[in-house]
């Protein structure tokens, strides 16, 4: 069974139709890229998948279960991790504590009033951070981290609840080119190893073509192409609306 099935989701803001009837599915362990120019509706799609926005129409199913219209925290409990285009972490906490929060919430221990956090789930948090190459930063406050590192922290947080589905909105924005490729290689490794379905957006075409198993192309709210990287690369409509004259960035 597909991990995620999306059926004809739509969203408009006032008069603007941001997403108009998008359908697709993601399989376990698959890396699916959602690309398209700025304003195509990628983030809006993500927001409808994790419950931040309620679709005007359409259905979202996670492992066969209808999750349309659930709250983000309910969607998260069902096994969906998410990173944001503009990072959102807890600035007054250390990197380790940020990950600990996700772990504590996953273990439903946030109501506890007595034991200090410092001694709870710290080893598990450190293991996760080490896996993402952040072991050295564990004790630093999130408020002063470089942007690329914040993206890694977000990934660690998103992985903390053993997700079945990972939603990554521009996970490598703000990183140096080599860093991008290595982070996505790492993500792909973890996804395959744990059977996590990954849906990500990305502007860097090198990253997309080297790590995506399949690509969806979104333009002005509608899917205009879907398929293996090679097929998408050669699709004339994609070349026309998105790649233009061979540019590698979607600005």
């Amino acid at each position: 069974m597909a991990t995620l099935e999306v059926e004809g989701i739509q969203k408009s803001f006032g008069g603007v139709q941001a997403v108009r009837g998008v359908s697709f599915a993601v399989e376990p362990g698959e890396m699916l890229a959602l690309i398209g120019p700025n304003g195509a509706g990628k983030s809006t799609c993500f927001n409808m998948l994790n419950g931040q926005l309620r679709p005007d129409a359409g259905r979202v199913r996670l492992q066969g279960r209808d999750i349309t219209g659930l709250k983000p925290r309910e969607v998260w409990r069902l096994g969906v991790g998410r990173t944001f285009q503009i990072t959102a972490t807890f600035g007054s906490m250390t990197v380790r504590e940020n990950v600990q929060m996700a772990l504590l919430s996953h273990h439903r221990r946030l109501g506890q009033l007595w034991r200090p956090v410092a001694r709870m789930d710290a080893a598990e948090a450190d293991a996760l951070l080490a896996r993402l190459g952040m072991a050295g930063q564990a004790g630093r406050p999130c408020g002063i981290l470089a942007y690329g590192d914040l993206k890694r922290v977000e990934l660690a947080i998103a992985l903390a609840n053993q997700p079945a589905l990972l939603l990554m909105d521009e996970p490598t924005a703000g990183m140096a080119p080599q860093e991008r490729v290595s982070l996505m290689a790492l993500t792909a490794g973890i996804a395959r190893e744990r059977g996590i379905a990954v849906l990500f957006t990305e502007h860097d075409m090198d990253v997309v073509f080297s790590h995506a198993d399949r690509i969806l192309v979104l333009d002005r709210g509608a899917l205009i192409a879907e398929g293996a990287p090679q097929a998408v690369r050669n699709d004339p409509r994609v070349r026309e609306v998105y790649l233009g004259s061979g540019a590698t960035s979607g600005h």
């Binding site: 998260w76 959102a88 972490t89 919430s105 996953h106 009033l113 956090v117 406050p141």
Partner: protein
């Protein structure tokens, strides 16, 4: 009628306590003018209008001298500064008009009453019931049909855009403020024939206005108008039919509206705050020097008292109580990221819980002390449910409204609470009767409570509070129910404040409505802000400093509100980041930026 005030408030979104003072000044000035002008139509209506205009001018001065300078300070400090104005005006009114209630003349031509459905309605009430909607209608026309109105509405939505259009924002806001002041003054002046003029009018009307704005829906002009009508009529009729419980009635209406429509009658969900707030500093382990200082202070607090006199012991007991009170407020303000202008409600409810248990149920002291957090906690759960749904300044306004409602009930329900005379004879049991014994009891409970709160801040629950404050988006995305976390945080703080209040009741031997009045809430706020919101030791230091200072002030000065108000205003003007922020600034400059 509060309607005009409310509409201005809803439109301009300038959050402001000072409107209450302007309303009260309107009533006082109208009294002076009407009683000194010749009797008759001209004297009365001329006096009322003259008072409204005079208040408009006063408002203008306040805006130009104070508010204009602090628009860029954090919102909480703006609110605080306007509260400073309230304190100053209260004492000025006291100086000018004295403490007793003033009775105004009846309105000429509207003295009689008519009978409707077997009830007698004074003509003047009917007049007010008609005037309210008329003023509202005129305002709606003004805002929707004139260029000025359009600009004001645009400015409240997007100040920068209006600025970019080349509109002089200063003039725009000043004119809004003038209009608001005139209306506030008019509202106050029109109360003259209806009820006595007194020094409580300012906070009473502000409460009403806040409730109206929240019921109507934030930022919705028509909603505010609708709610003003609803609540205004409820008041007008309620006073005639159930004079004692109008406030409770208002509260029930608000509760029903917010349960059915969480964003108010006509409100939309609030947009998330613009921009990312500056990262709050971390809460770490206390540095060794601070630990040492704390240990020394504790040692002194335990070892010294046997050598002190009764008076010093009383002061020390009060300081211990203040520490717990401030620490409880700090939990919601610091880690919770919410502001409360009505935290004294829970302190006072604790005091009343203890006193009522002692006098009506005859329970011994420990039973009374146990009742204190129970009563405070129950109300914390109920009031908190409303307050934590909103965010920022609106939430703070609602906490104030609830505190004011609690105060009015304590003040008006004379049969139960003794009203203004309070409840006397709430003395500790024999073993705790000596001041020294009671001091140790208070010290143990207050320090215990404060340390418990500290423990909570370091535990997962405290982290969850901080998490929802740091990033509501991320918190929700990792399964944290921010509403529930804030709600329990609020309740926990209420319970701790209740303990402090219960101890205070037995320490004083009596309980008065002032225990839950707004000035006491502001005491707590000042303690926390003085000490610094960001550190855990802040409220402790702030409580000690402030309690000591105020004790001195009140003994030395008759008009302490005036001085306190002025101090608050100066503090906001010159240290907009608070004393702790200023201290850090100087510290960092001296030691070079790390």
């Amino acid at each position: 009628m509060a309607s005009g005030l409310t509409v201005i408030f809803g439109v301009s979104r300038i959050v402001n306590f000072a409107h209450g003072s302007l309303y009260m000044l309107g009533a006082y000035l109208a009294w002076t003018l009407v009683t000194s002008l010749p009797r008759g139509h001209l004297g009365f209506w001329g006096g009322v209008l003259g008072a409204a205009l005079a208040v408009g001018v006063i408002g203008l001065v306040v805006e130009m001298l104070l508010l204009r300078r602090i628009y860029r300070a954090p919102e909480l400090f703006q609110l605080l500064a306007t509260f400073g104005v309230v304190l100053v005006v209260q004492d000025l009114a006291l100086l000018t008009w004295g403490a007793q209630d003033l009775l105004g003349p009846r309105a000429p031509g509207l003295r009689g009453s008519v009978e409707i459905l077997g009830l007698r309605f004074p003509l003047y009430e009917l007049f007010l019931i008609v005037v309210g909607p008329v003023v509202l209608g005129l305002l709606l026309l003004l805002f929707h049909r004139t260029r000025w109105g359009t600009l004001v509405r645009a400015a409240t939505q997007d100040r920068e855009m209006v600025g970019a259009l080349g509109v002089n924002q200063r003039m725009l806001f000043t004119s809004v403020f003038f209009l608001g002041s005139v209306l506030a003054g008019l509202g106050g002046a029109l109360q003259l024939p209806r009820e006595s003029v007194n020094l409580h009018m300012d906070l009473a009307i502000i409460t009403e206005a806040f409730v109206v704005v929240v019921v109507g829906g934030l930022g919705s002009l028509s909603g505010a108008a609708l709610a003003a009508l609803l609540i205004g009529e409820l008041h007008a009729f309620g006073i005639l039919v159930f004079p004692k419980i109008t406030l409770v009635l208002v509260f029930l209406v608000m509760a029903v509206v917010l349960v059915v429509r969480p964003h108010g009658l006509r409100g939309k969900p609030q947009p998330a705050a613009h921009g990312v707030a500056a990262a709050e500093p971390m809460i770490g382990a206390a540095p060794p020097a601070l630990k040492l200082a704390g240990a020394v202070a504790l040692l002194l607090a335990v070892a010294l008292p046997p050598f002190l006199g009764d008076y010093a012991l009383t002061v020390l007991t009060e300081i211990a109580i203040c520490i717990l009170f401030a620490a409880s407020l700090h939990l919601i303000m610091g880690p919770g990221g919410m502001a409360s202008f009505g935290h004294a409600a829970y302190f006072g409810l604790g005091a009343y819980g203890a006193a009522l248990a002692a006098t009506w149920l005859g329970v011994p002291m420990l039973g009374g002390l146990a009742m204190a957090p129970v009563l405070a906690g129950i109300f914390g759960v109920v009031f908190g449910w409303f307050c934590v749904r909103l965010s920022g300044v609106y939430s703070a306004m609602l906490t104030l409204a609830f505190a004011q409602i609690a105060w009015s009930v304590a003040f008006q329900w004379v049969e139960l609470t003794g009203g203004d005379n309070g409840i006397l004879g709430v003395w500790p049991d024999g073993w705790a009767a000596p001041k020294l014994a009671y001091y140790y009891l208070a010290l143990a409970l207050c320090l215990g409570g404060t340390l418990l709160l500290r423990r909570v801040v370091h535990a997962p629950f405290g982290y969850a509070l901080r998490a929802q404050r740091d990033s509501a988006l991320r918190a929700e995305a990792i399964g944290i129910d921010a509403f529930r976390i804030r709600w329990w945080g609020f309740t926990l703080a209420a319970i701790a404040a209740g303990v402090a209040g219960g101890l205070f009741a037995y320490g004083k031997g009596s309980v008065f409505p002032t225990y839950l009045a707004i000035p006491r809430s502001v005491d707590a706020l000042l303690m926390v802000l003085l000490g610094g919101v960001q550190t855990l030791s802040g409220p402790i230091v702030g409580a000690i400093a402030y309690a000591g200072l105020q004790e001195r002030l009140m003994r030395l000065l008759e008009y302490w509100r005036l001085v306190l108000g002025a101090v608050i205003i100066l503090l906001v003007l010159f240290f907009p980041q608070g004393l702790a922020g200023a201290a850090r600034f100087f510290w960092e400059r001296r030691h070079g930026d790390a």
